[in-house]
């Protein structure tokens, strides 16, 4: 099968097409800085970019290391050619036709269907890929710590992610369950108190009624006054009941409608403040970058000066190159000085001068490149920060819209509460007026009736009032504790308790299941990985080691077993302590095993630069093995090779 890779404005390549063969080992050959790495970048980019166009955090780090994403500090080595607005990669193999288009600023315009970010870890072996970086001690991980191989490449990490989301929910429901249980505990004595007070109140009502009747009997002439007073008292009591009911309504409205919205509003306002602060930072950064405008003109002037200097140097260099040709053709020992034409120079002096000029030219070139890079970095930073400012302004507008909407939603419960409070105020005024009428009548009756009976009546009435107030407070507290809000729905505590309990139970069960599955995935991945490593070891016949193994849970470390001539036995050794060439040998075993274990379905393996570093004997073995792999699996194995001949990169088939 053939695979065709077409690149447009990727890395240093403006346009190119490369054909790979799944029946042969594909060797991409070119001189230094001629496009080998750009081919590798394009291929790795299209094979690793996920369908949604976004790398996960850890994959993004790898993409930066492998040049698949542009490093803002080094845009000249970026994925898209620095002189182009966008880069395009197309890859066809078998029935599959993929394309990947990305802009200079990193925005993805089109993504491949089969891209898998795990390819960055499992499908590429280069001096910048994780396996080799780690073995050489150039990664933040310890050289033998390969937990990522079972965590990031298998499904273990996704099981853990889902378990993590459920754990947060489980904690929320457990906390809610505690709140509900406390409410149930607090409600029991409150209900008992309520019942006791109601009984007491009924009893007092009966007693005051009896006293009233007695007073009425004994003071016939004040019958009318007593009746009026009793009516006023009845009205006072009715109004007190009505006020309590309205206060309960207000509390309920506040708990279920107003408070959640106010919390939401607080959160949105906090988010708005964060966006404002970021916007302020971005504005400050833009102002700082614009202030650097002078530096840009300085750089341009300096570059022009250096270019002029280089042109002069090129003129002198050409004169010396011509002199070199002349002296070789004439086979004479000396020649007139190409610059002053008066003195004479030898062949050795000419070649020495050419070497000096070339060295000076190289220095000038690197200075020009450095200055251009500085200017480009400034421009990219400015464009990115301006883009960020634009997006923050849009976020701020969205945030204002959200706050405006919440304020509108808040108006409904606020209006309802205002109306309730207005009714309460009205009731209170009427209550006050009736209380005055009652007090006045009572005083009047007191002057005409039996003093002892009147006092008793007053005392009982005061007590009744006190009990009534206490009852009101208890009823209000009961109402507060009786409304439990869960995910926007309101329940009574007795219903909320089994709901929270059942939710917590189901979540705990699912978390345990997901954690078990994650561990199974890790163990299974390690087992498959070791099987593949063993198979590779026997195929490659590396005599230095008996075993290369990944240990099991919980450490997942790589170690080798090698023969110790002193002890005449095999001993374990950490991979970080191996020699440079042994690390290289191990890297190829580990990389192919990772590919075999996790990405068998994506038939590509890229080996950039590394084969060059093997000694001849081992390189031959590796190449034979890779050819065998190609024949057996039908993979496209693409390796790069440095050659001296100049010209565009070409593919050789072994």
């Amino acid at each position: 099968m053939k695979a065709s890779l077409r690149l447009k404005n990727i890395g240093g390549i403006r346009e190119g097409e490369y054909v790979f063969d799944s029946d042969k080992l594909n060797i991409v050959e070119s001189a230094n800085s001629s496009g080998k790495t750009s081919i590798v970048k394009g291929l790795v980019g299209i094979l690793s970019m996920p369908k949604n166009g976004v790398f996960s955090e850890s994959a993004f780090e790898e993409a930066l290391k492998l040049g698949v994403k542009t490093d803002p500090h080094n845009p000249f080595e970026g994925f898209v050619n620095v002189h182009a607005e966008k880069g395009t990669v197309e890859l066809d193999f078998g029935e599959v036709k993929e394309d990947y288009v990305v802009q200079q600023n990193g925005d993805v315009l089109s993504t491949p269907d089969q891209g898998d970010e795990r390819f960055l870890l499992a499908g590429v072996l280069s001096n910048n890929s994780r396996v080799l970086r780690q073995l050489r001690g150039l990664d933040k991980r310890e050289p033998d710590d390969f937990r990522w191989a079972v965590e990031e490449l298998s499904h273990a990490q996704r099981y853990s992610t889902v378990a993590g989301i459920l754990k947060t929910w489980e904690e929320d429901f457990s906390e809610k369950l505690e709140v509900v249980r406390k409410s149930v505990r607090d409600l029991r004595p409150l209900a008992e108190q309520q019942s006791a007070l109601e009984t007491k109140l009924n009893k007092l009502d009966m007693e005051t009624k009896a006293l009233s009747a007695k007073l009425s009997d004994t003071r016939f002439e004040v019958d009318k006054l007593v009746k009026e007073r009793d009516d006023a008292l009845g009205e006072v009591n009715r109004l007190k009941e009505a006020i309590q009911k309205k206060e309960i309504d207000r509390t309920r409205m506040s708990t279920t409608e107003l408070t959640p919205k106010l919390h939401e509003m607080e959160k949105e306002e906090a988010r708005k403040k964060q966006v404002e602060s970021k916007l302020k930072q971005a504005k400050e950064e833009i102002a700082t970058l614009l202030e650097k405008e002078n530096r840009k003109s300085e750089i341009e002037k300096e570059v022009n000066r250096l270019l002029e200097q280089r042109n002069t140097l090129d003129g002198m260099l050409n004169l010396y190159l011509m002199a070199e040709t002349n002296i070789r053709e004439k086979q004479s020992g000396k020649l007139a000085c190409p610059l002053c034409k008066t003195g004479s120079v030898t062949y050795k002096e000419i070649t020495q001068s050419i070497a000096d000029y070339r060295k000076q030219r190289q220095t000038l070139n690197s200075e020009i490149l450095k200055l251009n890079q500085e200017k480009q970095t400034m421009l990219i930073q400015l464009a990115k920060t301006q883009e960020l400012e634009k997006s923050l302004r849009a976020s701020l507008r969205e945030q204002d819209d959200r706050i405006y909407n919440i304020k509108r939603q808040l108006a409904i419960p606020q209006e309802a509460i205002r109306q309730i409070e207005s009714v309460i105020d009205d009731h209170r005024k009427k209550l006050e007026s009736n209380q005055k009428i009652f007090d006045a009548l009572n005083k009047e009756i007191g002057t005409r009736t039996d003093v002892a009976l009147s006092r008793e009546f007053d005392e009982k009435n005061k007590l009744r009032s006190k009990i009534h107030e206490e009852l009101g407070r208890i009823r209000q507290r009961i109402s507060e504790l009786s409304a439990i809000e869960i995910l926007g729905l309101v329940f009574e505590p007795k219903v909320a308790e089994p709901i929270c309990s059942e939710m917590t139970g189901v979540l705990a069960d699912r978390i345990a299941y997901l954690e078990r599955r994650a561990e199974e995935e890790r163990e299974q991945a390690a087992r498959r990985f070791n099987e593949n490593v063993n198979f590779l070891m026997s195929s490659l016949n590396f005599r230095e080691f008996r075993t290369v193994r990944l240990t099991g849970s919980p450490n997942y470390r790589i170690y080798v077993e090698r023969y110790d001539p002193k002890k005449k036995d095999y001993k374990s050794q950490e991979v970080g302590t191996l020699s440079t060439s042994e690390k290289l040998a191990i890297s190829i075993i580990l990389q192919v095993a990772l590919k075999e274990t996790y990405l068998k379905s994506l038939p590509f393996l890229v080996i950039d630069d590394v084969l060059e570093d093997f000694d001849q004997e081992r390189r031959d073995k590796v190449i034979d093995y890779l050819k065998e792999k190609v024949e057996k699996e039908g993979w496209f194995i693409i390796a790069t090779k440095l050659v001296k001949e100049l010209g565009p990169p070409r593919v050789e088939y072994l």
Partner: protein, 44 residues
């Protein structure tokens, strides 16, 4: 149909190409439905 079933969780894990935010949203929706069903049962 059982809510937040093991099959549902396996499907989310094995789909592979969805973002973390998408996973969170789907689980949140499923939990709300589960709560409504449990609440219906306990409110009878």
């Amino acid at each position: 149909m059982e809510r937040l079933s093991k099959e549902f969780l396996e499907k989310i894990v094995l789909e592979g190409k969805t973002s973390a935010q998408n996973i969170q949203d789907r689980i949140d929706r499923e939990l709300k439905l589960m709560l409504e069903e449990i609440a219906k049962r306990h409110s009878k």
